[in-house]
């Protein structure tokens, strides 16, 4: 599906630009996009290097396995295929906690680390496993406690009550996360029935 979306973006972009006599925009947009891709990755380097260093200390100290024991029931429910004491669980937990606290910068390296651990359990290295899809669903539906950036922007534009959206955001997040887990379950069941 990613293949099709990617192709669609490029082809549709070209066709529309050509039809509106704006074809030079495609060239500029392509180079701008490439540049921002690299810029974002370089921005990620510092965060990834720092947090993966921190996480290694936590792992060596046995903190991650402690976290895994604490939250085992929840993880067992969400990730039935992952063995009890697998290191992936500790990383999944740290990823979820960081997301909930709104620490997006800390969440990404932990999510990547969790994915790498899940990849070790994955039989087919090129296809996402059900556990990976669940972790992704949790991340894309973005469990947020405090939308910090939004509150800051609202303050900036002189909102009477900048934090009034915390409640609505929390409820909307809970609903979209619940939906993500349900839809994920449904696909998981369907793909296991079809025997793939």
């Amino acid at each position: 599906m990613v293949n099709w979306i990617w192709l669609f973006f490029i082809v549709a972009g070209f066709v529309v630009a050509a039809a509106t006599g704006n074809v030079e925009a495609v060239t500029q947009a392509a180079f701008d996009g490439a540049k921002s891709g690299v810029t974002v990755c370089f921005g990620l380097i510092s965060i990834l290097v720092f947090w993966l260093g921190m996480m290694r200390i936590a792992e060596d100290a046995g903190l991650l396995s402690k976290l895994a024991v604490l939250l085992r029931p929840l993880v067992r429910f969400l990730f039935p295929g992952v063995p009890k004491n697998h290191p992936a669980i500790g990383y999944i937990m740290s990823n979820m906690s960081a997301n909930i606290l709104g620490l997006g910068n800390a969440a990404t390296p932990m999510g990547i680390k969790a994915m790498q651990e899940l990849q070790k359990l994955n039989a087919n290295k090129e296809t996402a496993s059900p556990a990976m899809c669940t972790l992704l669903a949790l991340n894309t539906s973005s469990i947020t406690l405090i939308p910090t950036t939004l509150i800051a922007i609202r303050m900036n534009y002189n909102s009477v009550n900048p934090a009034e959206i915390v409640g609505t955001t929390l409820i909307a997040t809970a609903i979209s996360t619940a939906a993500a887990i349900l839809v994920d379950r449904w696909y998981r069941k369907r793909s296991s029935l079809s025997g793939s």
Binding site: A17, N22, C41, M55, N158, S159, T173
Partner: protein, 177 residues
């Protein structure tokens, strides 16, 4: 409530940065060596993501700059209007899953234009806070481990974005109207 939460988010990272090495040292872990060992992986991971992110950013950038995205939004307008959704927030539904920076810019623009305490400003803030850039998350996470077939992950992500969008509008009307 907000002040407690903001205190927690301000303290969370500093406390972790101190607590993790202290606890590890107590457990006799060579902290600096451990840090460097783990940190080495970070660089490789970031480099591995570059091709994925460049590919995605190019496609999105072309799609937006060409005017194709505005067209898509235009086509969807009548459908959303018939559902009573203010069309001003409509572009967010399409922008949010594909570009985090783009949708944040759009939300900021709506807040500036209609005011943070208007219904549109509240809806935009809630949508922005409760959904995520699905395409970016998939690109980064799966790119880092070399997954080519994303399976149903993208569908799940997009469906949850749509649910989050609709839920945000519904809840804002319920709470603020």
């Amino acid at each position: 409530m907000y002040s407690i939460v903001s205190i927690i988010s301000a303290w969370a990272i500093p406390v972790m940065i101190v607590f993790i090495p202290l606890f590890a040292a107590y457990r006799k872990v060579p902290v600096y060596e451990s840090f460097v060992d783990g940190a080495k992986e970070g660089f490789d991971t970031a480099i591995k993501i570059i091709p994925h992110l460049v590919g995605m950013m190019v496609a999105i950038s072309v799609f937006r700059a060409s005017g194709a995205m505005d067209m898509l939004i235009g086509w969807m307008r009548p459908f959303f209007e018939s559902m009573g959704i203010p069309t001003e927030v409509l572009p967010l539904a399409i922008l949010r899953p594909i570009t985090g920076a783009g949708s944040l810019a759009f939300t900021t623009d709506l807040i500036q234009q209609f005011g943070p305490d208007s219904m549109i400003g509240r809806i935009a803030s809630t949508v922005q806070g409760s959904t995520d850039t699905t395409l970016y998350v998939i690109t980064v996470y799966f790119g880092a481990i070399g997954i080519r077939k994303a399976g149903y992950a993208l569908k799940v992500g997009l469906i949850s974005d749509l649910v989050g969008f609709i839920a945000s509008i519904f809840i804002c009307y319920l709470v603020f109207a």
